[in-house]
Symmetry: C2
Subunit: 328 residues, 2 copies
Amino acid sequence: MSIKVGIFGYGNLGRGIESALAQNEDMELCAVFTRRDPDTLKIRTAGVPVCRAADVDSFKDKIDVMILCGGSATDLPVQTPALAKNFCVIDSFDTHARIPEHLAAVDAAAREGGHLAIISCGWDPGMFSLNRLYAGAILPDGKDYTFWGRGVSQGHSDAVRRIDGVLDAKQYTIPVKDALDAVRCGEAPELSTRQKHKRECFVVAAEGADKSRIEREIKEMPNYFADYDTTVHFISAEELMRDHGGIPHGGFVIRSGKTGFERENSHVIEYSLRLDSNPEFTASVIVAYARAAARMYGEGQRGCKTVLDVPPAYLSPKSREKLICELL
Amino acid sequence: MSIKVGIFGYGNLGRGIESALAQNEDMELCAVFTRRDPDTLKIRTAGVPVCRAADVDSFKDKIDVMILCGGSATDLPVQTPALAKNFCVIDSFDTHARIPEHLAAVDAAAREGGHLAIISCGWDPGMFSLNRLYAGAILPDGKDYTFWGRGVSQGHSDAVRRIDGVLDAKQYTIPVKDALDAVRCGEAPELSTRQKHKRECFVVAAEGADKSRIEREIKEMPNYFADYDTTVHFISAEELMRDHGGIPHGGFVIRSGKTGFERENSHVIEYSLRLDSNPEFTASVIVAYARAAARMYGEGQRGCKTVLDVPPAYLSPKSREKLICELL
C-alpha cells in the first residue's frame, strides 16, 4: 500500500515535491491544496485534484502525510500547528532562532490530535544539521564550519530589488576558497564573516538610473552586504533571464578535530552539496522524511520530531535486511 | 551517572578506544580485558584494572557497554555473540559479505541475554554506510561511488610482506583524481577497478634480493594488485619507519542524481574523511555509538542494531533541547 501524500501550497517547493513523488513508487500524490482559486492552478500529475486550502479538513483520514510548502516567516508558524491536529505533517521551517518555539507549538497540536510531525526538514536545517551532529559526536575535541553556496539567496536578491532604480536582480553567496582550504587542512582557523563568504550581484538597472549610486547602496547595506566583499555587475534583463534563471545552491559542513592522548592526530570530516535546484533538492529530502513520518506514525509514535530523531533506515523504501546487505 | 565501559582486546583499536573515552566526560573506562598475561600489559588510564579475558563474566552488571576490539576474521564471529549474552556489546565487524550472518548470531545471543548490541560500527562499515543510505533515499534516481584512501591497507601490506626477499612493506590505496573529478561533475561514469584506485608500495628488500622479481611479483599478484596500476618504491628500513609509521586513511562517498519531471537538474552529495589515524577515528565513532547503545538499552530496546537503526541524537552527550537549539 502506497503512502498517500498531500501538498499544501504550490510554489517552487510544492512543484519540487510533486516531481520528487513521481520518483518514489511507494508514494502517491492525492491532492494539492492552494489558497488561490483552484481553477487557475494547473499541476503536472494527471488525475490529482487541486482543492481549496479552506477545505483541507475534509481530507482527514484520506491522507497519510501532509507536506507543507509555505514560507517560514508567516505561513508555517500558523499552518503547521493547525494542520497537525488532523494530519501527520512535515515542513521545512528554516528560521533557526525560532525552531524551539515552532517545535513546541507543533508538538502540542500533534499530540492533541494524535499525529506525528517532522519540522525543519531540508538541507539547512536538515542534512547540514545532521552532519554537524554526527561529526560533533565523533570528534568532541574539534571545531565546526558551515559554508553556503555557490547559490542564490532569495532574501539578498529581494533586498537589492528594493533599491531605487533597480528593475531586477539576483544575488549569489559564494564561499571563499582560501577559507575552505584552510579549514580542510585541519588548521581550525578563526574566520570573520568577510573571510568566509563573498557576494556577487547581477543587477538590471532602469534606463538612466545612477549605477554608481546603486552599487554604493548595495555594498553599504547593513546586515545584508556591508560585512562582505561584494561584486556588482550591471546586465540586461535578457542576460539575467538567460544566465541567471536557475536556483542553484549548495554548501559545506566541515569539522576538524584531534584525537590521541597527546592530541597528536588530526581528522577532517566534510559533507558537501552541489545543487542545480535548491527547491527540488529540499523537496527530495522532505519526501524521504515523509516516508519516515508515515512509518513512525504506524509504529505508534506521536508528537513533533526533527531529522535528529529519525532512525536513518526509515528514510529508505528498502527493507532493513536489504539495506544491511547492500549498504552497510 | 557516567556510562561504564569495558575494552575487550587491547591492540591499536583498543588503545584508540581508551584515548577516545578520555575525551568524553560522560563515559568511564572500567576495565580492559586481554588474552595475554595481564601483568605484561600496561595501559594509559590510571587506576583501571587489566583483567584476563577468561574472567570477563565476573564483570556482568558492572559494565554498561563492552567494546570488542578483536579482528573480523576469527575473533568477532565468536566473541561478539558470546559476550552479548552477558553484556551490551559493540563491535566493528567489517567483513561486508558476512554481516547478515554475524547480525543474526549476535541478535539471537543479545535477545537471549536481554541485552542490546551494535555491530559493524566505524567508518566503513559505519559512517560511509550511513551516507550511502541518506544519499540514496534523497536521490533515488542516481548513482553511488565509494573511494578509499589515501590510506594504508593492512591486508595489502601483509600480502607484500609475504613475498620472498621482502623484509617489511607498507601499501597505500589512492583514489584516482580524474575519476573523483568526473564523479563530482555529476557525470555518473562507469568506472573500472583500475580507473578508481591506484596502489603505491614502499618495500624494504633483503640484502641481495632480486628487486625486479619482487616488483614483478607484487604487480602481478591476483586480486591484490593485478587489476590496479601499482607503483613500487624500494626504501631502507629507517625510511619506512620514519616516513611510513602512521596509519592514515580516509575516502569519499559521492552520489550524483537527477530531479525534475524532465530529469533536468543534477545534484551531487559528497561525504569525505581525511584521517591521520584510522584506528583512533574508528574508535571515536564506536565510542559515540556506545553512548547510543547505553541509551537504547535504558529505553528497553533489545537485540542487535546497526548504525542504520540508531536515531542520530542518541550519539551526542547533549540533551535533545540543546541539540535542537545549537545544531538544527
